[in-house]
Symmetry: none
Subunit: 122 residues, 4 copies
Amino acid sequence: MILIDYKDTRPLYEQIADKLSQLILCGVLSEDEKMPSVRSLAVELSVNPNTIQKAYVKLEQDGIIYTIKGRGNFVSKKGDFIDEKKRLFEMKVKEMVDEGLLLGYTMEMLIMIIKKGGITHD
Amino acid sequence: MILIDYKDTRPLYEQIADKLSQLILCGVLSEDEKMPSVRSLAVELSVNPNTIQKAYVKLEQDGIIYTIKGRGNFVSKKGDFIDEKKRLFEMKVKEMVDEGLLLGYTMEMLIMIIKKGGITHD
Amino acid sequence: MILIDYKDTRPLYEQIADKLSQLILCGVLSEDEKMPSVRSLAVELSVNPNTIQKAYVKLEQDGIIYTIKGRGNFVSKKGDFIDEKKRLFEMKVKEMVDEGLLLGYTMEMLIMIIKKGGITHD
Amino acid sequence: MILIDYKDTRPLYEQIADKLSQLILCGVLSEDEKMPSVRSLAVELSVNPNTIQKAYVKLEQDGIIYTIKGRGNFVSKKGDFIDEKKRLFEMKVKEMVDEGLLLGYTMEMLIMIIKKGGITHD
DNA sequence: GTGGTCTAGACCACT
DNA sequence: GTGGTCTAGACCACG
């Protein structure tokens, strides 16, 4: 379900939160579905439960999941966080376009790259 | 010339290397121009010379500057590193497109965002 | 395990990285085995921990080891770096052959030297 | 005649001494021929005369040239230094063979590489 | 406890 | 004066 890349320099909990976020966005985990428990996921990924806990806290702060004490963590409604995600995404796109122009790409070339890139899946 | 963001969690030397890299790419520092000395830049940014040194080592490893002992650091010819930069950039674009599609954008919408984004300057 | 040659003009960390690289190549340290910790090796060799750290950073950049924060450094899979090593090696051999020819050796003599040389161990 | 590689980390004088040594070995400069004067070579290579001086001192220590005060530097008889050169060369070859075997080459493969390598010229 | 980063201060080689 | 290296000691993030 999730693969940890130990060569990645980012904190583990951030990697895990990102992966979970992706799984939720692409619909593998759907609205109001229960997330795996902190302990079970910790066992599955062979990491410390604290690390999973930290990832869940981050997801909750981002509005992607919500917590019910004694019951577990659940996937939020997409509407609750997707706008924020989109705002951040558009900011990133703008930075990237600037970087591309600095590298000497034209707008047309950037659009070409976009069109090629959209098919990749891993 | 360079502003350090102490809220940024990345290492100082990485921030500094990134900023310098940008200045070189956008032509503020041109080919074979002398970079500020390790010590002068350390004073200017109020950081330890070793931190600047580390940033310069990174830039050298990336082929962006070259070093002459006892004389200083100099900006490399753009041809020497721009291809590698472009390769990395196109990889990043592909990841971003995937993320955008997950967020529910269509190709056409992504291209619209690109077109808007290209004008920003900071 | 490792002897430092203080007559060698190269930086300490480079000597150490080289020696470790050899130990890994010849199988004394095997794939995914844990490297000695930065601090323990620093004590063993009576050098500053930062020097070991620098050696480990170099080995990581060369793809010879990988790092897991908070856990330690581990030997990479040989396939990950052996091809690059071989490319560099063949370049060095070519330079050496040129040098030998300049010194007046014939091809046959070089091959004789090779055959004698292959048995040495230190 | 000589190209300086500023990306080479070795001291300038060592690079220059090496290049001159090569020129002598391959016969471009022949026995008892006068070497270029320190000053003229310094001008030609755009380096400090001290650097050339240091290179000449090294060549003299290695027995490759000899100095006559007030007259200049001259190429030694090959017999005077070639044996030492050969001894050092054979030591380097032995190290290289060991390294090659560690990398998984067989003797036969090393000999093949030798044969391919002998044709290169720069 | 482990690695990652930063600071401070020192000495060396090169120009 | 410039970069390259090393030492010493500190703090932080992660497990």
